[in-house]
């Protein structure tokens, strides 16, 4: 018994030392903001809310997704990984129906990616409430997604046989579970105008119930 206690405390001590000695990779938000400015990210990404677009023309002027709620939209850690290796999320250029996404997004080194990610994760929106949506292969969610609303009409998904299928104008939902905060998916479905007052995806609030949206958000979070 006594030896067990000794071993236990030694293990604890080692763990403690390990933690204390590990350099933290947490980036600096201040520095991230500077890197964001320096690289002119602002030319395509909006970092100040709330959304002000009123007309289709306003929305068409945007060249990339708005990031003023990035910290509420993306899962912790996603932004940093993506900035180091930016893989195409939208098959088409932003809001274009003629140009394919060239996949030429700026790539950052590890240090810059960590800083910019920390900065972007600090940008949050109160419109995303902590509802606590959990990923779930929900039958209701699946039926809405693939049958009653056919979301794959515009969003890429993996078929049961693992093939990439679906439309190209919406952001791909392959990997959505790793990318998106489930509560943001729910907020975006139920209250889309808070994030994008003008968008080419139909408004589903008033068509689907909040329970339907919660089921959809849970289902999409498993992708």
């Amino acid at each position: 018994m006594k030896s067990f206690v000794t071993i236990f405390s030694v293990v604890l001590a080692i763990l403690f030392l390990f933690y204390a000695a590990t350099p933290t990779f947490a980036g600096s938000s201040e520095s991230g903001k500077k890197i964001f400015k320096k690289n002119k990210c602002i030319a395509c990404h909006q970092i100040e809310g709330p959304a002000r677009e009123k007309t289709i023309a306003d929305q068409m002027k945007r060249k990339g997704p708005e990031l003023w709620y990035a910290g509420s939209k993306f899962k912790a850690g996603f932004i940093e990984v993506w900035l180091k290796n930016p893989e195409v999320i939208r098959p088409m250029e932003y809001y274009s129906i003629t140009e394919k996404n060239r996949g030429d997004h700026i790539k950052l080194n590890s240090a810059d990616a960590a800083d910019v990610a920390t900065y972007l994760e600090s940008l949050r929106s109160g419109a995303v409430k902590p509802v606590g949506i959990q990923p779930a292969v929900d039958r209701k969610g699946r039926i809405i997604f693939s049958k009653s609303q056919s979301c794959y009409g515009c969003h890429q998904v993996l078929s049961r046989r693992g093939r990439v299928v679906g439309g190209l104008t919406g952001p791909s939902l392959i990997g959505a579970g790793k990318r998106l905060n489930p509560d943001w998916i729910y907020a975006y479905m139920t209250n889309s105008t808070a994030f994008k007052p003008v968008k080419d995806m139909p408004i589903y609030a008033g068509i689907l119930s909040n329970t339907d949206m919660a089921a959809l958000a849970a289902y999409i979070s498993t992708f």
């Binding site: 009409g153 515009c154 408004i203 589903y204």
Partner: protein, 123 residues
């Protein structure tokens, strides 16, 4: 004094009108709406060849220039299908519902716009 009051009143009236105008400007023209919402599936010219019409989709978007297909629909059918989606005319749910996205007036204008694309009316 009276003059500056007059100018103030004129300016505020002009501003109020401007702001009111900007609010009404929320509704877009049928070609703009078509390009933004419908072309992603139906194509810019309405041939049903938008980027979402990929080979692996189970149903093709309707060719809006086809007088044969579009002639099967009344103006009411078209308006319902835009508002409630394909389900309104017992078609595929790949045609989404825009009833909460577009105003009734915008839908009505889209119906006339689509009629021009097919150059047809209900048979």
């Amino acid at each position: 004094m009276a003059r500056s009051l007059f100018i103030t009143v004129m300016i505020s009236t002009a501003l109020t009108l401007l702001v009111a105008g900007a609010c009404v400007a929320g509704a877009a023209s049928a070609p703009d709406n078509y390009r933004f919402y419908c072309a992603q599936c139906h194509g810019l010219e309405g041939y049903g060849d938008g980027p979402n019409a990929t080979k692996n989709q189970p149903v093709e978007p309707r060719d809006h220039t086809s007088a044969y297909e579009m002639g099967k629909l009344t103006d009411e059918d078209i308006s319902y299908v835009i508002k409630d989606g394909g389900i309104a005319t017992s078609k595929s749910t790949l045609m989404p519902p825009f009833g909460k996205t577009l105003t009734d007036a915008e839908v009505t204008e889209l119906v006339s716009y689509i009629r021009k694309l097919c150059n047809c009316s209900a048979r």
